[in-house]
Symmetry: C2
Subunit: 513 residues, 2 copies
């Protein structure tokens, strides 16, 4: 038992690097769950919500704003279009989506070891998305920069627990709004080799993303290989706006994947009740996915659900509460019944810092995310303040939790070694198992080893400086960034990407919209 | 929407007290789950573990140490007794337990509103148990005292989210070991009216507990009403010792309930694997429950499982990791199949303080506790440092999480109001729901209101002092203790209890064993 531990302890930096490489080699590119998802509603309840979604689509309808082409497309497919209001005959959306949307698809990465499966029994973790602020223990809270953006891409690349580089990991507010998408997409391509998301803040920025992907992967490759997965948010209640429709169209036309996500603060963008939120979410997502499937049948779509509860005192969004978990479990079941991949959850919280509130709330979101069977998990690491900020320490702590999920979803090992009956037989009452052959044989892999938890004695912890989890995480992300090395990228491709960016930036004046 | 909020905001202390009273009135004395438990193994896997448990009982056996009466009892019932080693023919324990142990029972409290149902679809939360140290933000970590003990009993009494007063909420080390059980049991009786646990550190201390219960409830009452539920831990692997057997006997003879709990640090007291831990836990618990049922058929028993993983570097116990969650889900299913109530889980952690580590680990234990269908939850609030310490702030934070669980287990409301279809119909695309009739009608009860989370804006949070969750919890427990008022207790009974304690204390010299 002592042969391994001392060498690991004394090895210092080299040993740590070796251990990390080992972890990289052992890591799986995504989770494959072995457990049936947790369900909060039976057949009857789920059918009822599906019927209500159909009623909403038929009676109330959905507005498709500022996009005449979308209205024509939907009318031609049989929808009742009055002005911008589109009403769908019962079952129309479900039929169209089920006819062509894939149940599961591969998102390709430039490193084939990092291809991810979206759908089925798989779960893919991606980092925080969309925060204008960043926070770390040293600098406190401040606006995000492109340097922060790159740091978060690098940390995601280095984390064996995150499978996907994400998209707007933070808003780089030091780059003009109309040009930052170029720097963001380039950062994902240059500093990581994991799959990533594209820009959606304007249709032409989506097209820039597609162009850059064509440079990186080859133009023909994209036609048959989704290499981006981009976030198309509904403007709830029951509105899809022209920016989102334009971005969704740009990606669909290039056979790239989109997440159609109603973003709902219950009580503001939908009724306050879980069943009401679920019915409206399903209606909105169905309408969005229908638009994508009519635009290009077979283009991969993911049904998204983002639902938070609300502080009834202040109207602020709240996270990690029971109600969003109930919505998540419900929506996951509805997506399975529809037969499309599902996005929801993450490590969400309202806390401003990486304290106990942040952790309780994040765990109370991430555990349902995994038990409910979510396929694509945005915001799996770093999220603070209802998404207004991304925290470096929070990122490290959350990623560690994602690592635990990878172990959990494997379930109980029922092999002979797992049953350990011979070990119990040969040990006998009152004899401890610390040095037994079975313990030694399973020593290295028996338990998940947290990178952030302090499991030492109180005395040792005190001697080590009485650090809290955030303080330990602070040391970890700094060490990771110090030791970061970029994955190799073909120089010609890199030059072509830079040339494209230079040309695009030169083609327009800076703008803050 | 504004009619309720301002009055609540401006009311100050009186309004807070009124709100709290309201919460007390609304609270349910225990949870009743409406959702099917999460399962990690199917019929085949669970049968396999049951067979392995039978193999352990038959081939390896269990030692019953220092208790000749127990050995005789087991031999008479058909066990193979060699010295202190007891081997059980396959199926014997299961048959005996199923023949007489109740599937569900009521534990009675002196306040009938606080009776709890143990078993079935019910979940009962009890606080931390057994810690020699206490911690709060002001005093740091120190040995627990009887004053701390009383404080924790008072806080549990005041919390609407905890249903049970627990037992050794902390060790009052300022009272001699051989007398502290009297002060502890009295504290539960005097400062709370919720159900509680008895002493188990010596058979005569269990009998003292029973005597005090007879004074409080009446001697005859106990014969038909379990009023204590006491923690009988196995000395794993596969040993029941004379102290625990003696305490279990004392309670069983008085028809009082016991929790038979193998306490397993996997890799030390059992093999490192989940299936191995589960088989051994089941074998040990079956042997213990068999002893109780033979002692007094029908005396309530609870199958307990406490399993932690281990740091393979230091050998220290670790919590909130995936492996103990898998054991918990497995054991919960095995207890359901056996047909006895189940105890496990809690808000367990290895962290020394109420930081993010503590919260992640606690949530990763408490959520499986509820989803797995645990019936009695010890350590639901306050636990730190693998149980070595109980934290005042951690207690407050954990209790808030227990409150969320009470909402979650109700599941999705599918009433017309829950479906909210009329609200969606009458609202239309692009219109927010903040002032709608449906939102107003559901305003008060729509979302769980956390007592500890800060959901304000960053700016407001900063203005309020940039407090973390533990700092906010510190203010809460102090306010609760300031405002505490003891529940009424008949003066004659109180005098009789005090007289009994005085007499017992005078009957023996102080001892630290």
């Amino acid at each position: 038992m002592t042969e391994t531990v001392p060498s690991r302890r004394s090895g210092g930096r080299d040993a740590r690097r070796a251990a990390r490489l080992h972890a990289q080699l052992e890591r799986t590119p995504f989770l494959t769950r072995t457990l049936a998802p947790f369900e909060v509603l039976g057949e009857e309840g789920l059918s009822l919500i599906e019927e209500n979604a159909d009623t909403i689509l038929q009676e109330v309808g959905v507005e498709f704003r500022g996009d005449a082409d979308a209205l024509r497309l939907l009318a031609d497919a049989g929808a009742d279009v009055q002005g911008e209001r589109v009403r769908f005959p019962r079952g129309m959306c479900r039929r169209i989506v089920q006819a062509s949307a894939p149940r599961q698809f591969t998102q390709y990465a430039r490193n084939p070891a990092n291809h991810v499966e979206i759908g089925g029994m798989h779960t893919v973790f991606a980092p925080n998305y969309g925060s204008p602020f960043v926070r770390d223990l040293d600098g406190g809270r401040r606006y995000g920069t492109i340097e922060d953006f790159r740091n978060l891409v690098k940390l995601t690349y280095l984390s064996p627990h995150l499978h996907h580089s994400g998209g707007t990991v933070c808003e780089p507010v030091d780059v003009p709004v109309n040009k930052r998408h170029l720097d963001m997409v380039y950062a994902h391509m240059r500093y990581s080799d994991k799959p990533f998301m594209g820009s959606v803040t304007a249709p032409e920025r989506a097209r820039d993303t597609v162009e850059m992907c064509r440079i990186l992967f080859g133009a023909d490759y994209l036609e048959t290989h989704p290499v981006t997965l981009s976030l198309i948010n509904a403007n709830s209640p029951l509105v899809w706006d022209s920016v989102m429709l334009g971005a969704a169209r740009a990606y669909a036309e290039a056979n790239q994947a989109t997440l159609l996500t109603p973003f709902i603060l219950a009580g503001a963008m939908a009724p306050v009740t879980a069943a009401g939120v679920a019915a409206q979410t399903l209606a909105e997502a169905l309408a969005g996915m229908t638009f994508v499937q009519l635009t290009r049948p077979g283009a991969p779509v993911v049904l998204g659900s983002f639902a938070s509860s609300m502080s009834m005192q202040s109207g602020a969004p709240t996270f990690g509460t029971p109600e969003p978990a109930l919505v998540l479990y419900t929506m996951a079941a509805l997506a399975r019944r529809l037969g499309v991949p599902f996005r929801s959850g993450g490590s969400l919280c309202a806390s401003k810092i990486a304290d106990a509130q942040a952790a309780y709330e994040s765990a109370a979101t991430l555990i349902p995310t995994v038990l409910g069977g979510v396929n694509f998990v945005l915001h799996a690491a770093g999220w603070l303040e209802g998404g207004l900020a991304v925290g470096y320490e929070k990122f490290i702590l959350d990623a560690d939790q994602c690592g635990m999920m990878a172990v959990f979803v494997k379930g109980v090992d029922l092999s002979e070694n797992g049953q350990a009956l011979d070990a119990i037989r040969s040990n006998g009452p009152g004899q401890h198992y610390l040095g037994t052959a079975h313990t030694l044989a399973n020593f290295e892999t028996a338990f998940y080893r947290s990178e952030t938890a302090d499991n030492n004695s109180f005395e040792q912890w005190e001697e080590d400086g009485s650090l809290d989890a955030a303080q330990r995480a602070n040391r970890i992300w700094k060490r990771m960034l110090r030791e970061y090395e970029a994955p190799p990228l073909d120089e010609g491709i890199d030059e072509a990407l830079r040339a494209f960016i230079t040309e695009r930036k030169a083609s327009m004046p800076d703008s803050e919209v």
